[in-house]
Amino acid sequence: MRHIVLVGNMKVGKKGDVIVTYALGTSLGLMAYDPVSQVGGLLHAMLPLSRSDPQKAETNPCIFVDTGVPKLFKEICDMGGQKSRLVVRAAGCSRPLGENEMFKIGERNYSVLKKILWKNSILLESEDIGGTANRTVHFDLSTGEVAITS
């Protein structure tokens, strides 16, 4: 089945599912897959830190990288995935032309991600990060394959 993940959301699924997300700009797209149990998920998080709006983070943790990423891992594990087997790939975190330099949201999303992964002892298998492009991600949960277009 094909699922579309909107900004500030995530979807987990299993073999047979394809997860798609569009318009990844400064947002982080994180794809995690356990090749043994063939379950995985995709997070499309918009902002780096939940402390900027704890109330919003309470109702929707997927808006923020620091609350969304642990939730993604947990939900995959709840479906039978194992954290130590996860193959994790990142996309997005771009820096659109004309964006105010002060904010650098894409860069901050990426650096918060790297800190959380370090704490969880997880390495990125690959990344397609930065630049000015808006990206679309197709994530095939039968194979774990990730296709990124922009």
Partner: protein, 132 residues
């Protein structure tokens, strides 16, 4: 095959971060040894079988560059692959290290860079066709 690694850095925090990166990397890690300067590093190399040396440059007693020179002069250990991890920015110094056959990683490093550099110099390849 498992890789025995020697980590040489005068900072214990840095050695711990490098070790954690190695454990996260999925590389086949064997024994790990640590040393706080080049002299201690050479002592370890004389006592243990080591397949890979990860070494800092700026250290007291004996710096990393001198340790590498001593290694290259010593037939039993001259062919051990070396990765230098340092804040060193001088281009001439980096070129000198490359001529000595060492790979270079800049501090602060990402754990992915350590994994990819070691895969590369030890010809381990990836366990996965990366999307990049």
């Amino acid at each position: 095959m498992s890789i025995n690694v020697l980590i040489v850095d005068d900072s214990g925090v840095m050695r711990a971060m490098i070790l954690k990166s190695l454990r996260m990397s999925g590389l086949p890690l064997g024994e790990t040894h640590q040393a706080a300067n080049g002299q201690e590093g050479l002592d370890v190399l004389n006592q243990h079988w080591v397949d890979l040396v990860i070494v800092d440059i700026n250290m007291p007693v004996m710096n990393g560059e001198e340790m590498i020179d001593r290694m290259r002069e010593s037939p039993e250990i001259k062919d051990i692959p070396i990765v230098v991890i340092s804040t060193e920015g001088s281009k001439t110094r980096l070129e000198k290290l490359q001529q000595k056959g060492a790979a270079f990683i800049h501090k602060p490093f990402s754990p992915e860079t350590i994994r990819d550099t070691i895969r590369d110099i030890m010809n381990l390849g990836g366990d996965d066709e990366g999307a990049d």
